[in-house]
Symmetry: C2
Subunit: 285 residues, 2 copies
């Protein structure tokens, strides 16, 4: 495959929310053939029937040997399993990427399992929502979102450029290269901690009656992602556990500061916390 | 004023986000005259110029004596001050309501200050956003929101019905009567705790670089209300401090449970927390 050339055969592994959306977004371009791999035959049939993929298979062997690019859109643990199990089936020269929200264990597994004739580029499309499955997929899912590529020492400039071009093509507003370690720390802050808080809110409200009478937009926003994909988040919490525990402790400390300021009616301390909150929020685009 | 009759003179005290929106929403109906009271003359001029109010004054005396209904849309501390200072100026038979997110201290002040010929009905329109001032007001602000009325022992059925009809008229989907004590506890959960968490998130991110590369929708939602009205929230935190401290401790305990489950890789405990989160969130309309 030429650098930045999508007129090649692309395989999407896992036609869920992310993989399905990838296939739908790519369908708009002049790519070669789009293949889909999924354990659920009914999803494959649906994806073929609506023209999102050209051909589907639940057995990866027969598809990988004719793919120039493979986008693995599975949960983290399954991504690692897939790489291990199919390492020998990728065609030489294939560019393989993933979509996991946690990067260090994925990169390590890829480096360990894949031969030098296959290039693995770690990627994290920061898209998604509280829904799941092919039914929830949309070609617009990536529009205006961030995409992070986590380079490692065996990556080539051209390999990374292909994934960057892919991300730009599907609509991402910002594609950045960041080391996997930094990624895993930052993402524990911006994605995993909001989920932790939403889970906490929703658990706290289990004991309350007539909650709907008292909800405004701030509560709805704070709990939006509480309806989560359990399997995905179990894996993420396990694989990024140390960072997540640090972030929970950061939140606990900040809540403690606020509680002390409210308890002591310390308005000057509150003003500082308010000013920082306003400044901090204004930095977010 | 007749029960449920808006063909009477209504005064809105404070033409900010809430008061301005009240006046704009009422303007659509066949009410008598709409008066505005505000300390900012330029806001009054603007409101008259765009036809939202018929007449404005920064001095309440001259307006209150010709008002059948008074909607006080000031911050909590200022609402109490206004009630105290102008208790003698309301016309006999006036229905006075407020819009504060904290109710016990307001009801107490009203009961203490107002004569028996004036009926105070405590109200909390659960509308608002991260903006403030007349510029941000909109006649649609209350559409599809909750409105809570907090009855006290001197309220008449007809007095409360007027405010219920008012809330329905401006677009609220659900108008409920709840005791002030229950209100103040529940609101610490559904409104004040989400703000506490948003403030914490935004403070935590002050020390981080390149945050925008890592943000997705969950982070944006979690921090939306961090750009807050400092004066309003200082007053709310002071006046509902005991409930808020309890809610922060509830959140600290839940975060602690999650941290322990993640730390111990206790997947069965995580599953329970996830299941409760999903069930809890699904209860929210």
């Amino acid at each position: 495959m030429e650098e930045g050339d999508f007129r090649s055969n692309i395989t999407v592994v896992g036609l869920g929310l992310i993989g399905g959306s990838f296939a739908m977004a790519l369908r708009q371009f002049n790519v070669g053939r789009i293949f889909g791999i999924d354990i659920d035959e009914s999803v494959l049939n649906k994806a073929v029937a609506c023209g999102v993929i050209d051909e589907g298979a639940s057995n990866a062997d027969e598809i990988l040997c004719k793919s120039d690019m493979v986008i693995i859109a599975l949960y983290p643990r399954d991504t690692i399993e897939f790489i291990k199990n199919y390492a020998g089936y990728f065609r030489p020269g294939t560019i393989v990427t993933d979509t996991c929200g946690i990067k260090q264990p994925i990169i390590e597994a890829a480096k360990k399992s894949l031969g030098s004739d296959v290039e693995f580029v770690g990627g994290h499309p920061m898209a998604g929502n509280e829904f799941q499955g092919f039914e929830a997929a949309s070609r617009d899912l990536f529009f205006d979102t961030n995409y992070i590529i986590t380079p490692h020492e065996s990556n080539s400039e051209s390999g990374m450029a292909v994934i960057e071009k892919l991300a730009a093509a599907i609509g991402c507003k910002c594609v950045t290269r960041i080391g996997a370690e930094v990624h895993d720390r930052m993402i524990s802050f911006t994605s995993q901690l909001p989920h932790i808080v939403a889970i906490s809110f929703a658990n706290l409200m289990m004991g309350e009656k007539d909650m709907n009478l008292f909800t405004g937009r701030s509560f709805k926003d704070a709990t939006r992602v509480a309806v989560l994909n359990k399997e995905l988040w179990t894996q993420i919490f396990r694989m990024n556990n140390l960072n997540i525990i640090d972030r929970i402790e950061d939140m606990e400390n900040m809540l403690h500061n606020l509680k002390n300021a409210i308890n002591a009616q310390d308005e000057s301390c509150l003003q500082i916390l308010f000013d920082n909150a306003i400044k901090g929020k204004r930095k977010i685009i």
